[in-house]
């Protein structure tokens, strides 16, 4: 039996201290334009610390822009962003780790050395970073693959290394941008189930951007449906499925199908 992933070992998102705000991510009145193109208009939503939100909508609807704003890679033209108390772009950047759509592993680094990059960036020595990160490989079902180069790994494995790299950064907030968009549907379903369990064991504040309604509903309790450009919040849905159910049980349950229908209707 592989070692179980305890949240203590892997370091989960920080719980709010007494008196501290319990807000995970709060956006109010966010607007952003690029030249004449209005990418986002009047975006509002809020989630609690260590909970998850999914954002679905058509392509080109400004979802990635929203993610970059939350991450602190850019500031909105109007509106306020609060990520666990951080309001300036610079502060938000220290709170968030982003997992991009493509795995973006560095081809010249082994899986292990890709996973440790955030630690190296913080000045941790390479040997210490490796020692600290190695235990993740067994927990992620990647034991023995530490020294493989990305080109030698399957798409699903690369995506797991990419997620591991995001976790190793030890940030409170994870931003997942179409994390499984590049995978085939079977691997994708397996990875969704895997991520569901991984996040169950390691509570973090998670913002998930996807164009797959099913994925959003499955992985997060709150789902925001966005419109095409200019991106606006069309509808907010909540779905709470038993965490003990398997992916297949959830996806085929009547409640899931109903919420999914509402979401699809909202997308139009």
């Amino acid at each position: 039996m592989p070692a179980e992933l305890s949240s203590e070992q892997a370091g989960s998102g920080r719980a709010a201290e007494p008196g501290e705000s319990t807000v995970g991510i709060r956006l109010s009145g966010i607007g952003k334009r690029f030249g004449d193109v209005v990418a986002l208009r009047g975006i509002d939503f809020e989630i609690q610390r260590n909970s998850r939100i999914g954002i679905v909508g058509p392509s080109g609807g400004g979802k990635s822009t929203l993610l970059h704003i939350v991450a602190g890679l850019m500031e909105p033209d109007v509106g306020e962003v609060d990520v666990e108390g951080a309001t300036t772009a610079k502060d938000r950047l220290t709170r968030c780790a982003m997992m991009p759509q493509r795995d973006l592993l560095l081809p010249w680094r082994t899986a292990l050395d890709n996973a440790i990059i955030a630690l190296e960036n913080r000045g941790v020595s390479r040997s210490q970073a490796r020692a600290q990160t190695r235990p993740y490989f067994e927990r992620f079902g990647l034991a023995k693959f530490e020294h493989f180069r990305p080109a030698q790994l399957s798409g699903g494995m690369r995506q797991r290394v990419s997620f591991m790299r995001t976790l190793v950064a030890e940030k409170d907030v994870l931003l997942l941008d179409e994390p499984f968009g590049a995978l085939d549907s079977i691997t994708r379903a397996q990875m969704q189930e895997w991520l569901l369990r991984a996040l169950g064991a390691l509570p973090r504040t998670v913002l998930l951007v996807t164009h797959d309604v099913e994925e959003a509903l499955l992985l997060s309790k709150t789902v925001v449906v966005m419109s095409a450009r200019p991106g606006r919040v069309v509808r907010t849905l909540t779905a709470d499925f038993p965490t003990t159910a398997s992916r297949r049980e959830i996806v085929t349950s009547r409640e899931f199908v109903e919420v999914k229908e509402q979401a699809l209707e909202a997308i139009g």
């Binding site: 991009p100 955030a118 079902g141 369990r197």
Partner: protein
Amino acid sequence: MSTGAPLQTTERDEDLLVSAVPSAKGSRVRTFARVYAGALAFILALLFGWELAVRLGHVPDYLLPSPTAILADLKTDWVVLGPALWVTLREVMLGFVIAAVTGVGLAVLLHLNGPLRRAMYPILIGSQTIPIVVLAPILVILLGYGILPKLVIVALICFFPIVVNGLDGLRAVDDEFIAMMFTLNASRWAIFRRVEFPGALPSIFSGMRIAATFASIGAVFGEWAGSSAGLGYVMLEATPNLLTSRIFAAILLLTVISLVLFGLVSLLERIAVPWAPKRTTS
């Protein structure tokens, strides 16, 4: 399944693994033979035809010596050619190293400094409209008959493809990589060191390989403009005396210099960039 379940998927990892089958040494030799056998056969046929034409057509040696006559000359004239080879080899190698160091250095500097890049890049491209070899006489006047003007010419010729390829490689890094690195605690320097520079290495080396083929041209032009030693000087001396096979022997040695330099750059690339996809020649 409960949330506390181990994060082990049932995915058949081994099946999904795209294995990079390391080729055995024997098969590598075979692959090499398969790839280059055709080219080798063609060259041999060409040399054979040349030899035959010269002998059967009774072409005088001073017009076109046969391949065997050139080889024989290489041996008898080694007293002259050997030291000349050494002189030119030094000019080519040193000039190339100067170009590689300054070229990569300037590419990095221009990449990291936007205003400087915008100021320098047009000048850099524009400077290439000057046929650099014609600068050789001026450099001889300025720097004398020694090795210095040759180094400058070789370096100037090799410099451009290295800078341009290096700069392109550094700028080709995906913005998404950079955004991701910023969210993973990276400083600007960390991004350069861990993402941009290693990512640009294949491009830098491809610039160096192009430069390696130009280097000996620079050395020869430098020697023609004014020198007292080197393969170019030997050729210059041999011409009025109609020592045609000596000229051919010098050309052969220049080719060898270029091949050696090219081989060294490729070898260095394989050491520095072992992860690069293999270039297949077929």
